[in-house]
Symmetry: C2
Subunit: 581 residues, 2 copies
């Protein structure tokens, strides 16, 4: 298996890094050195001697290359716990690990490469000649708590990138450079979309007027598409008595991870980490008949999940998550139509983002692992039928898909939509999930055509997913140059000189009145500077207004994507921009 080979290369390089570090820094104490997505790292304790800095990585890299070229063998050896303790008696972190691994009569393994010996479960190349010395690179240094616990000592982590060949490493470095240019945290600041406050805390973004305009554009786009499929907005509070989650089963499953809320009264509240249990209670507030189904609730609302501070990253990973959530309550016979509708909404939305092109996305039909059926709840016949329906829908629609066993949720199978961004990274964004379990937990029911009580099926669906994560993806995908409908500022009206200010204000107000997101720049800066500023802000259209425009009651249109378009009447321009929405 390719992945195993790459894994072994990376793991072996972690050993070689440790070996090189000990050569140069004999006082270093070794902690752990695992494989990660793009390479490997190793954690060291350099206390009691010098600590390497970024400049020292070059030298360490050279030392590793030297080791690689010596075509050294990796050889393993089984040892008892007491032998291991003797071998690593001067390595306190290893001793702690040995203590932890040691069961009754358990055996541990050590691996040697060259003069370096490490405690290790194995998974290496046989010989360093299998490692391409041009396909790895020491990447960076970082601080990391021993075992990730902030109560422990802070160690020094050295990261390495490693691939099978130089081309893959170069491609990765190029993608990384491109990603840095597009980093949504940098662009978010430059375009003034969101901010964080020390006083409020990490993972809790504040959206400025421009960021909010983008959020609203996304919410409204989805809403305008899905209202044609009968979705209706509802509104729920962000907290609940814990009773709701005891009933749903989330309390037992996720109790520890939930945000608990306590006020002056005695009630124990919890912040909602998802919206489905609340939505079931709106369904349950009335008697429902088969004639009322499907009932489709939609709401974009924040849910709260605690994440370790170290895992928070810009908008990609936050504590306040705006879910673009939707729940359909329907009869089993309606599943096909309803999932079809969800897929249509997804198709229309991602088409508006030009992300629904062949080769740019695929659908994962996430089914049960049939070898472990006991892991899943719900009737066998429903599962089979539902998995067939899901596969059938994407097949009939001609969408590229893969059926992946074992990816279903325990409560039902799902469709996950995977999208490739402009620099080749893949993201799971939209999803449609069937749920046979929750309706029964909450005793939901409707009266069917025979007059009997029947439990509805629930469909959980997200089009953009978490708005924060979605924004982080599309800010980087578009590099800040968004489609017109999504741009925080769609038009910038620029006056050339004092004499044109009034006309510019007039044009600005006319556009604002018809809900076009427009800004007015009638400052006394030079025209060149104003236009440069507009370009920096990646505004799709600038309307430059001088004497000629004023006289002829026209606007000079400059497009971000198409360059100078020329003079138009305001009506013509409005028609043009509306055609882009």
């Amino acid at each position: 298996m390719e992945n195993e080979k790459l894994h072994n290369i990376r793991h072996s390089l972690a050993h070689l890094l440790a070996s090189a570090v000990l050569e140069k820094y004999p006082h270093a104490k070794l902690a752990i050195g695992p494989v990660i997505e793009t390479g490997f790292y190793y954690d060291f304790d350099f206390s009691g001697g010098p600590t390497p800095n970024a400049d020292d990585l070059k030298d360490l890299e050279k030392r590793i290359k030297h080791l690689v070229k010596q075509t050294l063998d990796f050889s393993g050896n089984e040892v008892s716990v007491s032998e291991a303790k003797e071998i690593f008696k001067e390595a306190p972190y290893k001793l702690e690990l040995i203590e932890e691994f040691s069961g009754d009569g358990k055996k541990l393994t050590t691996y040697t490469v060259g003069k370096f010996l490490d405690l290790c479960r194995g998974g290496h190349v046989d010989n360093t000649k299998e490692i391409n010395a041009d396909a790895f690179k020491l990447d960076k240094l970082a601080g990391a708590y021993w075992r990730g616990d902030e109560k422990n000592k802070m160690l020094t982590r050295i990261y390495g990138l490693a691939f099978e060949n130089k081309e893959s490493l170069d491609a990765h470095l190029k993608q990384k450079e491109e990603a840095q240019k597009r980093d949504h945290r940098r662009l978010g600041k430059e375009l003034d979309l969101f901010t964080f406050s020390e006083l409020i805390g990490p993972g809790l973004p504040l959206f400025t007027p421009k960021g909010t305009a983008m959020r609203d554009a996304i919410i409204e786009k989805i809403q305008s598409i899905q209202k044609n499929f009968g979705y209706q907005k509802v509104t729920i509070p962000h907290i609940t008595k814990k009773d709701l989650y005891e009933k749903s089963g989330h309390w037992t499953k996720f109790g520890e991870e939930l945000f608990k809320v306590k006020g002056a009264s005695n009630t124990e509240f919890v912040m909602k980490p998802m919206n489905c249990p609340h939505h079931t209670q709106i369904f349950a507030s009335k008697q429902r008949s088969y004639k009322d189904l499907p009932i489709r609730y939609a709401e974009t609302t924040m849910v709260y999940r605690d994440e370790q501070a170290g895992e928070l990253l810009g908008l990609s990973r936050v504590r306040s998550i705006s879910q673009d959530d939707g729940h359909v309550f329907c009869a089993v016979e309606q599943i096909e139509q309803e999932i079809n509708n969800v897929v249509s909404v997804i198709e229309q939305f991602y088409t508006a983002l030009c992300m629904f092109n062949e080769g740019d996305f695929w659908v994962r039909v996430s089914a049960r692992d049939k070898k472990e059926k006991e892991k899943y709840l719900g009737k066998e016949e429903n599962w089979n039928r539902a998995e067939d329906i899901l596969e059938d829908i994407v097949k009939k629609k001609g969408l590229p898909y893969k059926k992946v066993d074992g990816e279903a949720a325990f409560y039902g199978p799902k469709l996950d939509f995977m999208f490739k961004d402009a620099i080749g990274r893949e993201w799971q964004l939209a999803t449609a999930q069937l749920d046979f379990v929750m309706p029964e937990r909450f005793g939901l029911e409707f009266t069917n055509e025979k007059g009997e009580k029947e439990a509805p099926v629930m469909i959980h669906r997200a089009i953009a997913g978490s708005l924060e994560r979605f924004l982080s993806v599309i800010i980087e995908h578009f590099g800040g140059a968004f489609p017109v409908w999504l741009s925080p500022v769609q038009v910038k009206v620029i006056s050339i000189a004092e004499a044109h200010k009034e006309y510019a204000k007039d044009v600005f107000e006319k556009l604002r009145d018809i809900d076009i997101r427009v800004e007015l720049d009638d400052s006394d800066e030079s025209l060149g500077k104003k236009i440069r500023q507009g370009k920096l802000e990646k505004v799709p259209y600038m309307l430059v207004l001088g004497g000629e425009e004023l006289e002829q009651k026209k606007v000079m249109v400059e497009s971000r994507d198409e360059g100078k378009i020329g003079q138009k009447t305001l009506e013509e321009f409005i028609e043009l921009i509306k055609s882009k929405n």
Copy 2:
């Protein structure tokens, strides 16, 4: 003073009630009997003998009337603590009160009327002849914990209504009856606007699609008015580290009452009970110049305040409060213009509700209590100027107003808008408050024209206030028959028979596509029943479609407020309904 006279009447009646109760139920133990807004109550412990039920109130009322007619004097007497203890030795609740009142050498008072003696601070009529025996009524019985503490014994509370004359009592009873008919909790259920769930908890309403449509109509109406004054939407999370409130000063002031939040991480979070501190952090995220001011943020977002379960009431008093919030950051010279704009938004919004008519509202200019200037923060000159500006604005606008000293917030003066509802009750809804304090607490600043740093002034403004409370008021004000723009369902399309279903669906979809809130009733019920249902739901327009309409491609329009309007083309009807928005 009128109020004092009425207070004395009510207080005296509480004594007479206790006297009548002891006549009939000698085993009763007396607790307390204060005056309340519409009369009085008295709490009794009936354990060890019979407890009166609702039917017994008539008899007690008769006994009180009998006492009133005897023209009995109220006479007070000063007693020492030990004398009081002797007098009330068989009255355990009174003994507890005596214990509490007793300081070193303090004197207590007792009051006698007829044969009845009670521990009391005074405030009675001199003689029962001052009481109009036709102007009071025993109202109802309820359970109440001794001292309001649920750890104590549950006592029996008897409520009485009391006024100076029969007309006032009758007017109150009529208003009460009318209010019951309009009760927003009943209408909310009948019109399917909101619901509560036992599992989620009291004070945490869930808004159905129809309730959400009303919320959105309110939010959009305000947004569409205020965007012309430069308000921009922002988005903030519902929690914050407590650091934010330590800085704002709310932690010291309201720490106990705040909802504390605790997750798996170590950070202490708090749910926001207001939005201003969060909004300051968006202002503070960039360097600001005088050219950028005023900056106006608006957001409708839920804040959370814990209320005792017993105080929660439908939407009037909730724990999740959707604030229609706005904050302006401006220079002192801009206050007048900005407050003027807020007043214009209020005027336009309440005009759209037909609530801005002469006699239906007034403005309270809430100023400092000049005798206690030390209670207020901020510069003397700013206060004087700001109070003058506020008064000046309402005067110039010709709005009915009263300047009320002592009603200002500690951080600045304000305008409070008081509205009368359809049955004569008065509600404070909109508000505009100046704030000189918060910007300085957060170190907010902008560069003024001289290049110096200067603190902006903040204006807090709410147009509808809390959406929940606002909805409770207008549901009762309109009795569920809302203006067209606010109606959860604006149009109901009704097919007469099978043959007209397709045409009805077509009309329904055309209206839905242009964002008119429309429902289709193409059920097989009789036409009469369908129309009755629409009337029950108080839908402003019904379009009844039969053979003639289908043939002529017209719609038969029936208006809730104007009766049968007759046949129109769909375009004519759309024009008609749009003119009502």
